[in-house]
């Protein structure tokens, strides 16, 4: 019982992080029809930015904010300078481009920050709370992770639903030409969309890193889990990405606990293939026919 509870709670926090990462992928997919595989190394780089600051004596929170800000910048720069040129072209070009960026960021990080494993601090305890004799398998950092993801998602909903700029961004994503005719600066909105998505990806990166080890490849598997979660939710739906992330986090945590952590990536692959073949539109599809 204790073990199951612990597994489920771990799954919930992991799921929250996957949800955030999936959300980042969905935001970019909705606006530019590109799956940004480079999201993983982008988040890795911003986490290193935080680590460098923290190692230089800054507090965790300074690092945290710096990671998100650098995520914003990195996302904007990459969209404006590189991705802009393949938007609306053959989809294979966009995929290859994000892979090229993947490799570039990877090796740059290894050159600049080193390729060895480095430990990343956590602002809250990473041990469970003591209640009497037993340990509740809920950690301070786990709670922080959940809260941080929820807050960021709340802010995004407020931005997209409640503000003019959010409305313009959605219009630019759904109907770029019509949006232009209505006076929306579509290019700028796409850049902003990438920047915000990159912030959310960076959040996932720094949360995964907390209390663990980072190295240039530490986010590689997360991009796969984020992608699986996003596809579970239909790839087009932010809400679906969140539910997909949580479901995947719980599933993978159960697999890891009862079968073995080595088969976690394999089970993610199975989940992905089954979803794509059985319900290509994702778990919450309203449209039944979709090209995947």
């Amino acid at each position: 019982m204790q073990q199951l509870l612990s597994i489920l709670l771990t799954g919930l926090t992991l799921g929250a992080v996957y949800a955030a990462f999936a959300l980042a992928l969905v935001m970019i997919w909705r606006s530019t029809r590109i799956v940004n595989f480079a999201q993983a190394p982008m988040a890795m780089v911003t986490t290193y930015v935080a680590l460098v600051l923290i190692d230089a004596g800054a507090s965790y929170w300074v690092g945290f904010v710096a990671a998100l800000l650098s995520g914003f910048l990195l996302g904007a720069v990459i969209e404006r300078l590189v991705v802009r040129h393949v938007e609306g072209k053959a989809e294979i070009n966009a995929v290859i481009l994000t892979l090229g960026l993947f490799i570039v960021l990877h090796s740059l990080a290894a050159i600049v920050f080193g390729a060895r494993f480095r430990s990343f601090p956590a602002p809250f305890g990473i041990r469970g709370f003591q209640v009497g004799d037993s340990t509740v398998p809920l950690t301070g950092f786990g709670i922080f992770t959940l809260v941080a993801v929820l807050v960021v998602m709340g802010l995004l909903v407020a931005l997209f639903r409640g503000t003019d700029i959010g409305l313009r961004m959605r219009a630019a994503a759904f109907g770029p030409e019509v949006a232009r005719l209505l006076g929306v600066k579509v290019g700028r909105m796409l850049t902003l969309g990438w920047a915000l998505a990159s912030v959310v990806g960076s959040l996932a990166g720094i949360l995964i890193a907390g209390g663990g080890l980072v190295h240039p490849g530490y986010m590689d598997s997360v991009v796969v889990y984020g992608f699986v979660a996003a596809v579970l939710g239909g790839l087009d739906s932010p809400g679906g990405a969140v539910v997909g992330g949580l479901a995947l986090g719980l599933t993978l945590s159960l697999v890891s606990g009862y079968v073995g952590s080595e088969v976690v990536p394999l089970s993610a692959l199975l989940v992905l293939v089954v979803v794509l073949l059985v319900r290509p539109g994702g778990l919450f599809a309203t449209v039944h026919e979709r090209r995947v």
């Binding site: 997919w29 590109i34 799956v35 595989f37 590189v82 802009r84 040129h85 393949v86 938007e87 609306g88 072209k89 053959a90 989809e91 294979i92 070009n93 966009a94 995929v95 290859i96 481009l97 892979l99 090229g100 960026l101 993947f102 490799i103 570039v104 960021l105 990877h106 090796s107 740059l108 290894a110 050159i111 080193g114 390729a115 060895r116 600066k185 579509v186 290019g187 700028r188 490849g217 590689d220 598997s221 991009v223 796969v224 992608f227 699986v228 596809v231 073995g260 080595e262 088969v263 976690v264 990536p265 394999l266 993610a268 692959l269 992905l272 293939v273 794509l276 073949l277 090209r291 995947v292």
Partner: protein
């Protein structure tokens, strides 16, 4: 110079031309492997297996339009199969061990291919990416058989007597096992290239291209989309399996750390650099991947980088080049050269016979302004 009648008759047929090129290739391989130093020979062996995998991938991606980011996984499957067979003390000849690697990779490729045949673009990329991440974990899960994190060392094969005699006859030295492996890799590469070149120019290859270019039209022409896709995937996975088997013998160790995502992405890099769909491009890409790292690492050392940093220069260069290729010359090296040649030929033709002028087609899609 007039070609001899008989030779011309042979080279008029595609198959014949490929066989002639293949025979020349074998001679070149034998010459290179016999007279180069052992370091160069081992580099050539690495080049050969990378080129085999890249050639298989470029057929899948370039001709059939399926982008796989998971071919490192098929290499892993081939390598582990070869390692297990070679360690089993069954005394199987190397060629049989390699065939075993191909068979297992082909079977897995058929299963994955059936799923992949229904996916497109980013979905296929994501699914194969998951495959690349998932497969190495199995080596740890079945660590009793597959050696876990440490991996399996691969015993060197014995050099067969006829081979030793032949090499002694050519070079007056006894060949080492690793030179034997290099020969095998080189000959295998030539074989694979001849086969793939034939498949590409055959009916099967034309079907693959038809499926890539226009699914609906292909279907109306009576092509079974799923079968064409699965077949292309299987052929490509078989190549990766062979490459993995050879890699096991060349590297002499198969461990999960040898089959990271980087390997899969490296293969994609090779085919993008050379130009999607071109076998020559795959060779060029594989050559860059084999020889550039040494160059870049040396350069990095001169610039005062540490070894670890210098080792990352090569991937940095590939990555940057890959981004630039997509932005500036999406046809890759071979595609761009071909386009230039075609344009020059067209200009010559136009100059020779002033035909009624047609305006040039628009150079690219209309620009989407910000």
């Amino acid at each position: 110079m007039q070609q001899p009648q008989a030779l011309r008759r042979v080279t008029d047929h595609t198959l014949g031309r490929h066989l002639v090129v293949g025979a020349v290739g074998v001679v070149v391989v034998v010459a290179l492997m016999s007279f180069l130093g052992s370091f160069r020979v081992s580099q050539l062996a690495s080049f050969s297996y990378l080129a085999i995998a890249a050639a298989g991938l470029t057929v899948l991606t370039g001709l059939n339009g399926q982008l796989s980011l998971g071919h490192g996984a098929f290499m892993a499957i081939g390598a582990y199969t070869a390692a297990v067979l070679q360690r089993s003390d069954s005394g199987l000849p190397v060629v049989v061990v390699l065939l075993g690697a191909v068979v297992v990779a082909t079977l897995v490729g058929a299963v994955v291919g059936m799923a992949a045949a229904r996916l497109h673009g980013p979905y296929l990329a994501g699914a194969t990416l998951a495959l690349a991440i998932a497969v190495p974990g199995l080596a740890i899960f079945w660590s009793d058989l597959l050696g876990g994190e440490q991996g399996l060392t691969v015993p060197l094969p014995e050099v067969p007597g006829w081979f030793a005699d032949a090499v002694f006859f050519l070079t007056a030295t006894d060949p080492s096992s690793s030179r034997y492996v290099a020969y095998l890799a080189g000959v295998a590469l030539v074989l694979v290239l001849v086969l793939l070149a034939n498949v590409s120019s055959s009916r099967v290859g034309r079907r693959w291209k038809a499926v890539r270019d226009d699914e609906v039209a292909a279907q109306l022409a009576g092509i079974d989309l799923g079968r064409a896709r699965v077949l292309a995937f299987v052929v490509s996975a078989a190549c990766a399996g062979l490459a993995g088997g050879l890699m096991a013998f060349v590297v002499r160790l198969t461990a999960p750390s040898g089959f990271t995502l980087t390997l899969s992405l490296t293969l994609v890099t090779a085919i993008v650099l050379g130009g999607l769909g071109s076998l020559a491009g795959a060779l060029i890409g594989a050559a860059l991947l084999t020889f550039l790292p040494q160059l870049a690492t040396g350069l990095g050392g001169d610039l005062g980088l540490t070894d670890v940093q210098a080792a990352e220069l090569a991937p940095l260069v590939y990555g940057v080049v890959m981004v630039l290729v997509i932005l500036l010359a999406p046809g890759g090296l071979v595609g761009t050269v071909r386009m230039r040649q075609a344009r020059r030929a067209a200009l010559r033709a136009a100059a020779a016979a002033p035909a009624p002028q047609h305006d040039a087609p628009p150079s690219s899609e209309r620009e989407r302004s910000s």
